[in-house]
Symmetry: C2
């Protein structure tokens, strides 16, 4: 059994704060502090350029990728770190479309995180007017898969409601129609049991600053199924993905396996901090994480529904159909969330009307659930969310 | 006059090391250490998700971009940070090609840094078989500009020899032929006087871990000339470049001005470290930097040519035709450089036969030049570079 009291102790959780926004930005693992100091002072400072070999910077994207692989059911050597999730979505989609040159439709859904749709729109506009991004309601995806579809581009867990797609079933349907399947695991990795191998994903991408606690703007990851390692071309063909980066050839030759999905110079400091954050997952079983996630979420839903008549559940009621976050609707959700944050219960608002709360089993516990329910109930019953300052929008909401 | 003794004191330079590789990775500014601690511990650790507003993370790409703008002659509001140089090359090129829809040729040269060529190859392959990357010798670029050319994609300062293109002249020629000009400033920013405004560059891109000392894998920058701000579409159309990122619209709408060139979630920790590194440029005049760069380079060339008959100058002899680095050829350049590094004179090797030395006026001085000349002369005259261990190639050379 995973010892969650021990994992909670690995994080810096500011006193008095109930943090239910790890689905947006995970808290700082205490180990990140010293690791940041070491990579800056001891590696960059003292080794200078020699750090690329002596401190293992050059190999870090694949080495850290292997640590992510274990958490998403991917074999070693099939995940590499780099760039942002938006860039990795573009790269996976461009690569997949080139593998289905006779098809023109990318299928996604309206519950996808917008940047996935935006990146697809930008790519398809460049490829030509015959390409089309088809966006259907999440529940209509399965029926929309037909032999016109080149690629399905889906986020497994909805960023607002936590609604979870059935990855194996949809992937099987896509493959049956001759399409490839890209899965965005932004709200899955570290939150639910993911198995890209049995799920037969062709590509998977994700970020590491949510449940993996890599820090603001931490590098993204990309998985390519081993059977595609020779066929998948990176589209964003940068020198770090070249077969021999330091030969400085004038022509691109893709590197071996997943290495070709590297693009530019790796973000060494950010990778080191992420690496330290991943230490928290050593010895952690994802089955335990999932069980605890469901226990916390179910307790939160029960508590809110018992004590907060003004909100309605936006997430699926069946925990098997949810990820690790819970959304409730309220017509003034923005102001309500601001009032919660002022009282140190931190979730977030997602337009137009969702209060979103993430439950991260590595550091959240039942005391967090109880405090969040109590404060939310009190704010709603007293109406003290309805102050002018809580309605004023900030740049990032 | 810039006080270079004062700027040198801002850097951590390991005792005994003569560091002439700041054109690959600048040394650690002492201020970076505390800034890294603050962004990790005080911002991420204590503010958590609130850091996006309270610590100014969301605005950092444009704010830091404005600091770079001053160093490259760009107006405020025309430079933004993000991603890697490879990604920014792709973005600039895709954007520029879309602005010349009736043309199919991208003109570059064989002295360009390979990743620029690789990214162009990847992009053009996706756009269709009628697109062509034309690569000529650097001295033939001017003559190769004709009305078939959509975009010139050139690196101002050659990464091996320091040979410097005439940006205003080539840009004027490109414009005369109806083409757009993209300039890669990787080896220019912080090294030579750059003025993208009088040089009339349409797009410029660069990295910040060389002469700008932002740390390994620090974020890149992109400049778009103000007259193109409405016409230039980002191609990599991520949510951070959306007109309203937190509206979560399903359709992409480009943001205002240079903001649209943002793609994904910014690398907050790396940006903070870079921001601290840029403090070193406060009060520094680029004319002083350039004068000192030439003085150091000329002294180095004179010393090496007087005392090292086995090497030949690979760089232009006229300092006006060079950037801030000097290359010398030696048939066993790799082994010679390893021998230098072992004796704490750090330059680097560039295939096939170049010893490369960068001179960064903010921290290099004449004592560095003298020691480098002395050790190089001694290694060459004694032949002590010719040991088996100096011929063994490492991953990064």
């Amino acid at each position: 059994m995973t010892d969650f009291a021990a994992t909670r102790a690995l994080f810096h959780l500011p006193p008095g704060v109930t943090y239910l926004d790890g689905n947006s930005l995970g808290p700082m693992p205490i180990a990140a502090q010293d690791r940041a100091r070491r990579v800056v002072v001891e590696e960059w400072g003292d080794l200078l350029i020699r750090g690329w070999n002596a401190a293992g910077w050059m190999a870090a994207p694949a080495r850290v990728g292997d640590r992510i692989a274990r958490l998403i059911g991917a074999p070693q050597g099939s995940v590499v770190m780099g760039d942002t999730l938006s860039i990795k979505v573009y790269q996976a989609l461009a690569s997949a479309l080139a593998m289905r040159p006779d098809r023109r439709v990318v299928l996604s859904d309206s519950g996808n995180f917008p940047t996935d749709l935006y990146m697809a729109q930008g790519l398809l506009a460049s490829l030509g007017s015959d390409y089309r991004l088809k966006v259907v309601a999440p529940e209509d995806v399965a029926d929309a898969i037909d032999e016109s579809v080149a690629v399905t581009l889906l986020t497994e867990v909805d960023y607002r409601t936590g609604r979870r797609h059935d990855m194996p079933a949809l992937t099987e349907k896509a493959h049956g129609a001759g399409a490839l399947a890209i899965w965005d695991l932004a709200h899955s990795a570290g939150a639910v049991e993911v198995d890209v191998s049995t799920g037969r994903a062709d590509f998977a991408v994700g970020c590491t600053y949510k449940y993996l606690n890599g820090g603001p703007g931490a590098p993204a990851f990309i998985y390519v199924a081993p059977e595609h390692h020779d066929a998948a071309l990176p589209a964003l063909s940068g020198w770090m993905g070249h077969a021999a980066p330091f030969a400085f050839d004038l022509d691109y030759r893709p590197g071996k396996g997943i290495e070709r999905m590297r693009v530019g110079t790796p973000a060494v400091i950010a990778l080191a901090v992420l690496d330290a954050a991943l230490d928290a997952w050593e010895g952690v079983e994802m089955t335990d994480v999932r069980a605890r996630s469901i226990a916390l979420s179910e307790a939160f839903i029960a508590g809110v529904e018992a004590r907060c008549p003004d909100v309605t559940l936006a997430s699926p009621r069946d925990p098997r159909a949810r990820g690790s976050q819970v959304g409730f609707r309220h017509p003034q959700a923005y102001a309500v969330m601001q009032a919660l944050i002022v009282e140190d219960v931190i979730g977030d608002f997602r337009a137009p009307d969702i209060l979103r709360f993430g439950f991260a089993p590595l550091y959240n516990d039942m005391a967090d659930v109880e405090r969040a329910v109590t404060v939310l109930a009190d704010i709603l019953s007293t109406g003290r969310w309805d102050r002018p300052e809580f309605h004023a929008r900030q740049a990032v909401t």
